[in-house]
């Protein structure tokens, strides 16, 4: 039956809107409820990260990387620090590697908890958001115990970490993991298998694999479309090759592969994998001094390097060019949410207004990282 072509209405899902995950403006051409075209406008949170990093020394860039993706700051630091150590050929002691993996995976769970909770909010369920934030607070307590900060840590330094682990960190961390594992089952019962939730997310905003690769989408969004790509497995950095964990892919149980439900489901399974990694890391956590290889004065050799790491939102790449002085010549951050948002215009066409909000939620973007 022919679709009735009414006249178009331009709608601004404006910079100030309850569900744009930050300051983002979507210019939407709608015909009734059906959306015919979307143009995202970004740049409202642009704080010139790259210009700043050309005026501060190498260790002073780390607080700025924290503030790009403020939900997964540990992984931002991790990316920057791994790239710098590869540039300067620093070999960090074992204990630092294990601490970094534990912190990065804890931060991945915290970031996924926020992503899934806010996704439930976008689809209309209030309670899962509060359950997930209650558990996220427990992780933030652990971070506060080690480095004093709850959201922006400046914890990982080039060549080491800023603080050693507190007294009985193993007991506390294992305590959290045992507390948290049954909670995932509770989220699944409450939200994932809920028929209304499935109705709202299955078959919505389908991102086919080739379009995903063409749009440079990465991380859980790409794995939701069934592409087996995880930087921790395919370009292993730090000591990720010592742990065995699977990579969850979207199989399209309740709809086609690559729909919003798959992206949601991949994030839920990734939390289980992260718990496995942390358990293995804590089991064989060596002792040692963490401040040993922190260089007093960072003067990397002349040259450039591009290195990718797996942040909860995808491939977080750092392109660092140094000219031998203690001030970086150029630091470029390739942000995964930037490419995920660029694909929104493609996959949200033809859906209804409330689906656009659901698809935006399933892409899990953070505007701090997009605008840098």
């Amino acid at each position: 039956m022919g679709v009735v072509q009414g006249d178009q209405m331009v709608l601004n899902i404006g910079p100030q809107h309850p569900s744009t995950h930050g300051v983002l403006r979507l210019k939407v051409w709608t015909d009734g409820e059906i959306v015919s075209e979307i143009k995202p406008y970004i740049g409202y949170l642009h704080r010139c990260f790259e210009k700043h990093s050309e005026n501060v020394t190498y260790e002073q860039v780390i607080p700025f990387t924290d503030r790009c993706d403020y939900i997964a700051s540990m992984n931002n630091n991790f990316g920057y620090v791994v790239t710098m150590e590869e540039l300067m050929e620093i070999k960090v002691p074992e204990r630092v590697e294990y601490i970094r993996v534990i912190m990065a995976e804890l931060n991945r769970i915290a970031s996924h908890l926020l992503a899934l909770g806010v996704y439930g909010l976008d689809v209309g369920a209030f309670t899962p958001f509060l359950y997930m934030f209650r558990d996220r607070e427990r992780i933030l307590d652990i971070f506060e115990l080690t480095c004093g900060a709850r959201l922006l840590y400046n914890y990982m330094w080039v060549g080491g970490v800023s603080h050693d682990l507190p007294k009985d960190f193993e007991r506390i961390c294992i305590g959290f993991l045992d507390y948290f594992e049954p909670k995932i089952k509770e989220y699944n019962d409450l939200l994932t298998h809920n028929k209304i939730f499935l109705e709202r997310t299955a078959d919505v905003g389908v991102l086919p694999p080739d379009v995903a690769i063409n749009f440079g989408v990465s991380g859980p969004n790409l794995r939701g479309s069934g592409v087996n790509w995880d930087v921790r497995k395919d370009e292993p950095y730090s000591i990720y090759d010592r742990f065995e964990f699977e990579i969850p892919l979207g199989e399209g149980e309740f709809g086609t592969v690559g729909d919003s439900f798959d992206r949601y489901w991949v994030r839920m399974c990734e939390m289980k994998e992260s718990i496995k990694i942390i358990r293995q890391a804590i089991k064989d956590l060596p002792d040692g001094d963490v401040f040993q290889t922190i260089p007093k004065k960072i003067r990397p050799p002349k040259g450039s390097i591009y290195r990718r790491t797996e942040s909860p939102r995808g491939d977080l790449g750092y392109y660092i060019i140094s000219d031998g002085s203690p001030i970086p010549y150029r630091v470029k951050m390739r942000s995964p949410a930037f490419t995920a948002l660029s694909s929104l215009g493609e996959i949200a066409q033809g859906w209804m207004l409330s689906d656009v909000i659901a698809i935006l939620g399933s892409l899990d973007i953070v505007l701090g990282e997009i605008d840098r």
Partner: protein, 194 residues
């Protein structure tokens, strides 16, 4: 037709499990209530259910504090600050390691180094500080640190330092010097020279 009824039955069962969970949470609210009654209960609740004590904290990033008597004016923290919110002015002390009683300047720091400079101005603009803790590490005398944590015996944790006026957020740590004391320090009188 069969899928129609299976669909309805699936809806009913999944909605029922969902309602069961919220009912259980409502029933045992006494056990897993997480609200912190703010004015009465303060953060951090030591026996938070993970069970670590307040002294276990490595560091608490709440507010910068400077023991001005130990500060030798080496400007390392000013250089380490990524947002340049620390500003220090120093004046050359007439003699190294000598106390100057009238302006309360102590010549020797806690761990014994003699001070060659009088710190006339040491301001930290807490409204610009990004709490990254980078200024604490280079200090040779460990006189600048964030309140709480291992320093908590000296300074209990406090995070309520909001002010009504932005200018009050600029903390002045150096001892107040009147202008003529400053000028007198700057150019010592001829007889002191001879």
């Amino acid at each position: 037709m069969k899928k129609y009824f299976a669909n309805i039955w699936g809806t009913i069962t999944t909605l029922k499990t969902g309602m069961g969970i919220t009912w259980r949470h409502m029933m045992n609210i006494k056990k897993d209530n997480v609200t912190l009654q703010y004015p009465e209960e303060r953060w951090p609740r030591p026996e938070r259910d993970i069970g670590f004590e307040h002294e276990d904290y490595n560091v608490i990033r709440s507010r910068l504090h400077v023991d001005i008597d130990d500060c030798i004016g080496c400007l390392k923290c000013e250089r380490a600050c990524p947002v340049d919110c620390i500003k220090i002015d120093t004046i050359k002390a007439p003699t190294r390691g000598e106390d100057i009683p009238n302006i309360g300047h102590t010549g020797v720091t806690e761990n014994g180094t003699n001070k060659a400079l009088v710190v006339s101005r040491f301001t930290i603009d807490m409204s610009e500080c990004c709490y990254c803790n980078l200024c604490v590490y280079p200090c040779p005398e460990e006189c600048i640190y964030m309140v709480g944590g291992p320093n908590s015996p000296k300074h209990p944790i406090d995070y309520e330092f909001s002010e009504f006026d932005r200018k009050d957020l600029i903390y002045e740590f150096s001892k107040p010097l009147t202008s003529e004391q400053k000028s007198e320090l700057m150019n010592p009188k001829p007889d002191a020279e001879a």
